[in-house]
Each structure stands twice: as structure tokens, then as C-alpha cells.
Symmetry: none
Subunit: 158 residues, 2 copies
Amino acid sequence: MKERNSRLMAIRRLITRENISSQEELLSMLEKQGFSMTQATLSRDLKYLRVAKMPDSEKGYIYMLTERQLNDPSENSELPITGFVSIDFARGMAVMKTLPGHASSIAYALDNLNSYEIAGTIAGDDTILIIPRDGVVKRDLVHLLKTKMPGFSNDLVN
Amino acid sequence: MKERNSRLMAIRRLITRENISSQEELLSMLEKQGFSMTQATLSRDLKYLRVAKMPDSEKGYIYMLTERQLNDPSENSELPITGFVSIDFARGMAVMKTLPGHASSIAYALDNLNSYEIAGTIAGDDTILIIPRDGVVKRDLVHLLKTKMPGFSNDLVN
DNA sequence: TAAAAAAATGCATAATTTTGCAAATTAAAT
DNA sequence: ATTTAATTTGCAAAATTATGCATTTTTTTA
């Protein structure tokens, strides 16, 4: 149903933007946005969204998004990439190392994949910062690269 | 007290090694290890440790550690850096300002520290984005820079 | 080392979250 | 268009977690 989906989106949005410490609190925020539901449903939504509750120094406890999993089944479209060295994951982002001078061309190619997973890239001389969309995890990105990038091997993933 | 500390350690250990879904469950595990306490105390311990509870596909809900560990075994190896201006922290990352044109050389030097704390850097003309590894916090990075970068002062940290 | 301050803990209970079950709504199949 | 299967939801109650307060234990201070 459409209602449920937009509600789930709204929940994610609220959780990232506000520090919410209870389901009742979140519930009233949702109601202000026009959603009507019970706390029980919200509990199930949070479970579905894999939202975690963690201690917070100022608010006591707050909800926060954790990692997700999902992705597009569009496979193989080949991407001629040379100069790739290795890739690291940190801060929910990927740091790709390339041969000196190769960063921008590879970044350009990555951008042109127009893949959902990648929100954007920034290239230096031999390093590319890949910013994945919210909810996209390491595995999603590895999967993407594996299918789109000839010669990409797990051995190069740190 | 010593008891409390070893208990906190034990809790962290158990949480990383097992998938625990309730405080009662964790409590009985702790009792098997010789700790005696009530659920109330455990609740406070988890809060102190900033342990989050998140939905899990197999166990329903599980506890998990959030932030960090620290590090810094190797000290002082000096790094001749000039052109450094200031550093800011945001989004779990560091944004370093340099004199115009100095960014890439400093970034290069930082890369060559091959320090665990830094996953990678991206340099523009007078700005460097430093991406710390997961778990590495501001203090860790400041410590690293203080020990490796002559002339690095707290005054330059925003 | 006695006194004072701070920290930790248990108890009981409040607050919050999860869930079984039945009803309602939506999607699929005939 | 009906019937059937699947999904979603509310309700009420169970399960789980957090916390105020008094007490004990530990640490500091004089």
C-alpha cells in the first residue's frame, strides 16, 4: 500500500533529522504529518526498518538508522576501468585508491553508471571518495562493482 | 571498583561474540561467569557502554556495540608539514584547511603515515577531507596529528 | 582515620516496547 | 466480479527496559 511506504519514508526522515527518544514521541510527530496509526504498528515499522535504539548523552536514548540491504537487479553493463588499486570502507563511504592520476577518470566512469547506490564521487589524484546513498551498505557497493567493473576482485577490498 | 570494570568488559565481550536479545539473557550469561547483579544494574551498564538494541532477522532483536576503540601504539615519527592552517570535525570526518596550493602535498604526507586511523584523504587546493576509519574519533585523530605533526596545536582545532 | 562526597546498586515500579490474535484491508487468482 | 490468499493493523496484554529513591560501598578530603 502507498500509505505504508510513505509512512516508512517519513519515519526514516524523522529519525535522521531529529533525536527521538520514544515511539510515542515519534508517533505524535507522524500524526502531525497526517499519518494515523498506533504505537504497535510503529513498533513493527521500526523493526522492519531495522531502526536501533541507542543510549545518548543528552536525550537518554534515541533512535537511529542502521544499515539496510536492498538493491537493483539490473546487472552487467561493463565498464572499462583501469588503474584501480583497492577499496576501503569507512564512515559508510568507500575510499577507492587508484594509480596516480587515474582517480578522476575512474570517478567519471563511476558517475556514469548512474547507479542508485552511488550518490556521488569526489576524486583527487589517486583517491576517490564514493558517497553511497543512505541505506546502501558495503556489500551492496561491492556487488555493484563486481558486476559493473571487469577485473574487480574481492582481494582488493579491505 | 574492580568488579564493575571487569563486568563492563565481560558485557562488551559477550555482546560482540553472541547474539543476545534481552537483558535477562545477558544477565544469566554474566551469572554463569560469576557476576552477581540485577537487571537494573545491567540496564545502567548498557546505557553507560552505549550499547544499542537493533532488530535482527534471526533473533528478533539483538544488542550491539556502537562506537569505537582506540589506538596509538607507535609514537613520534615526525612529519615535516608546512602550510597547515586549521582543522574541523564534522560528520565523523575531518576537514583540514591549508595555505592555497598546499593541500595535496600535505594529503600525500598524511597518506604516507600509513596510520590505522586514516582510511584515506581527498585533497582540493586548500582543503583536505580526511576520512577516519570507523570507530576512530576526533580525539584519536587529534592525538595522531599531535604526535606526528610538528607544530600541530590544539588552537588550530575547531 | 574520621567525616564528607561521590558512585554504584537493589528494590519496586513506572515507562516503553513487543506480540498473539482476530479483524480489516489489499492483492491475486479463478 | 467473487473468492482466496496475503498483508497490514488495532487491541489488549505480556515482555522488556528504565528509573526514583533509599541504602551500601568506594573514593576524597581534611
